[in-house]
Symmetry: C2
Subunit: 408 residues, 2 copies
């Protein structure tokens, strides 16, 4: 079950002026479930995206990059679940393009004004005919208040739909930010995650939006891991529809930081929601590494802990077998690490220092923290000022069950 996470109610997801959403049940892999999402964007919208660094990136990812680079204003997004259209070669590109062609024709756009996204099983051909057949139903129910249906339409092994909104005032105008995401397994994003969409009606320049998405992704989706597997399809899109009536925000505007932080805040909540709904998750862990020489070595330590199957199973068992964390720190690859100088905390409890167990540490203290559903692990490397935070979940029987059964 997701860790301290429930689906948002429909009225909690605020409409964003200029963004309409429509869905269909297209039977791509399973019957009677939403599996196609269409989003249309008002004229004048700015769109930015970041995508997986996996070299086996999916056909829709390649096409997204081409369409974004074309210079044509992006006016529609098309998402399908049930098939990732990854590991599909030239044929996969053709099929992805065919679905963009069909949506463009129906909306009176050019093909390169549509961005395609797919998620599901890798190495299987996209049933493009089914996606195309679903378009008319999706277009027929396009409305601005369809965010919850949209969040449901992009789910795969997710247990709950993920979305959140913020409302703020910029330049005297009410501005809304709403985002949705999906993802539960194959989660170790590298520059983006497995499908996230965030929209705002704020007026913001393309350059400012480019800057914001890099900032936001590095504070959010690039800080999570479920299983260390970087997906072939990770995509994060931020849309600004320019409908709120505020003066256009540039990187030099007084309002730039406020908008950036609101978008980043939404990105963090969506990223954490993916971990809370990580496959088989029963606990949510925050790994905080401080005192490193640079952020890179802090990330190495944080991810060594977050990816260790032994650490993750110990958290599942609420077993304060904390030597496993020391072992992970030790193999993280930090040069000239002084193991006698570092400190390990579990919650507020000092567990290890001087190369070993802290003198005052009592196992009952560790046990008490391990029983919580939200656990903070803090490592103080004591060799510099850099820091980083990574969020992850534990490793349970259900992780194995979900991934042994996923295709059946």
């Amino acid at each position: 079950m997701p860790v301290n996470l429930s689906a948002p109610t429909a009225h909690k997801l605020l409409p964003v002026k200029g963004v309409k959403l429509g869905f269909a049940e297209a039977a791509i892999r399973k019957l009677n479930r939403k599996d196609v999402l269409v989003m249309t964007l008002a004229e004048g919208s700015h769109v930015v995206g970041v995508f997986t660094q996996n070299q086996f990136c999916a056909a829709p990812v390649l096409l997204c990059k081409t369409h974004l680079a074309s210079g044509s204003p992006i006016r529609a997004l098309l998402v399908n679940t049930g098939c990732a259209n990854a590991g599909t070669g030239e044929d996969g590109l053709n099929r992805a393009k065919l679905t963009c062609d069909a949506l463009a024709a129906a909306l009176n756009l050019k093909t390169e004004q549509v961005l395609p996204f797919s998620t599901g099983v890798i190495l299987e051909p996209l049933p493009a005919d089914k996606v195309v057949a679903g378009l008319s139903a999706a277009i027929a129910n396009l409305t601005e208040d369809n965010w919850l249906n949209a969040a449901e339409a992009i789910m795969t092994t997710d247990i709950v739909a993920k979305g959140t909104s913020r409302s703020l005032t910029l330049g005297g105008q009410q501005v809304t930010v709403t985002g949705i995401s999906k993802g539960s397994g194959m989660i170790h994003p590298n520059m983006a995650t497995m499908l996230g969409y965030i929209a705002t009606d704020a007026a913001v320049s393309q350059a400012a939006l480019d800057s914001i998405i890099q900032y936001a992704v590095n504070k959010s989706f690039n800080c999570i891991t479920v299983d260390g597997d970087t997906s072939t399809n990770d995509s994060l899109i931020i849309v600004a529809t320019n409908q709120a009536g505020n003066a256009e925000i540039s990187e030099l505007s007084a309002d730039f930081i406020a908008l950036r932080d609101a978008l980043t805040d939404v990105a963090i909540e969506l990223a954490q929601a993916i971990v809370r709904d990580g496959e088989g998750a029963t606990k949510f862990m925050t790994i905080n590494v401080q005192g490193g020489r640079d952020e890179d070595e802090c990330r190495k330590v944080a991810y060594a802990i977050a990816h260790s199957p032994l650490v993750k199973t110990a958290f599942f068992a609420s077993d304060p077998n904390l030597g496993r964390i020391l072992a992970a720190i030790g193999y993280a690859g930090v040069e000239q690490l002084d193991v006698n100088a570092l400190k390990l905390y579990l919650g507020d409890v000092l567990v290890a220092e001087n190369g070993g167990r802290a003198a005052a540490y009592q196992e009952e203290q560790g046990s008490a923290v391990m029983k919580e559903s939200e656990i903070l692990v803090c490592v103080e490397l004591a060799r510099g000022d850099a820091a980083c935070t990574v969020w992850t979940c534990d490793f349970s029987y259900d992780y194995v069950k979900i991934n042994a059964d996923y295709r059946s």
Copy 2:
């Protein structure tokens, strides 16, 4: 259950002239199990060792390195299970030294002639008094034909004891090689593994033995992974007792290759035995990566596949969800990888080429291979002549169960 692996019978493990082994039940963590091993080495023996690169390496590992560097001839090894004596700081070093002192006194040796080894839970103090109390019983049953008891005495979560022997003729003399190992979880050795001991009665120079251990470990223990966790205690020791009567072998001797290969062969069998008995293992996978620009990039690809929880759970389920392997290849970190040039084989079956599923591939072919207990995954990168092989096991419910319950 271990994959195609059963414990050796006592008579299959050939005595090595000059090596005696004795064990005790010292109740270090549990009652009524062998948990202390003493090995004595005849005068004139040469000993080499390689140890974990984990920076949180255990107190006995630090002491082994010091004793090996002291120049005093090593004459005894002392192993305990039930406690790793890692993450124990200065106090851990003192306790390890105390056990060496006691064994040295009993055998009339100097402390630095004893090498200590520990395996078990990290971050707990070694009950040195219990180890010392067990020494007299272990010394009382020292014999040359005690290899199977020795293999049993070093087990922790291992299901079966691991050992093997080779017999060969060098310089007209019969030479024996016998080795034992243990390890089942926290297995991703980096320069050595979680306790392996190989002995030969051959006469061989120290320099030749140094060369052999590096060669052997890189072909064996450095090619395996169970869970990607590099232990704090990995140690591999090779002993040559100089009792077989052959002329001393140097690196220039005609017999050097034969001895090196026999020792390496034993190391490979012991390393593979650890994977076959990997925690929760139901399948044994050989990951063979060819056609790389250098061995390093081949290893990156092989380990990305071998460590992916998604790949490992698919193997557990016998599900040919092979896109997960492509995803792992794609995030392995190989620069400028041409995904359209590489080929993926499962057994003899060509699964993927030209960036996607091979035209002739049928799911039934993949299913048939996945049902086997021994599976070969072959990746042809088609960009050079380098290659490497890694052995691993699948990821099952029992892995979670074992590691959630390990301390209880």
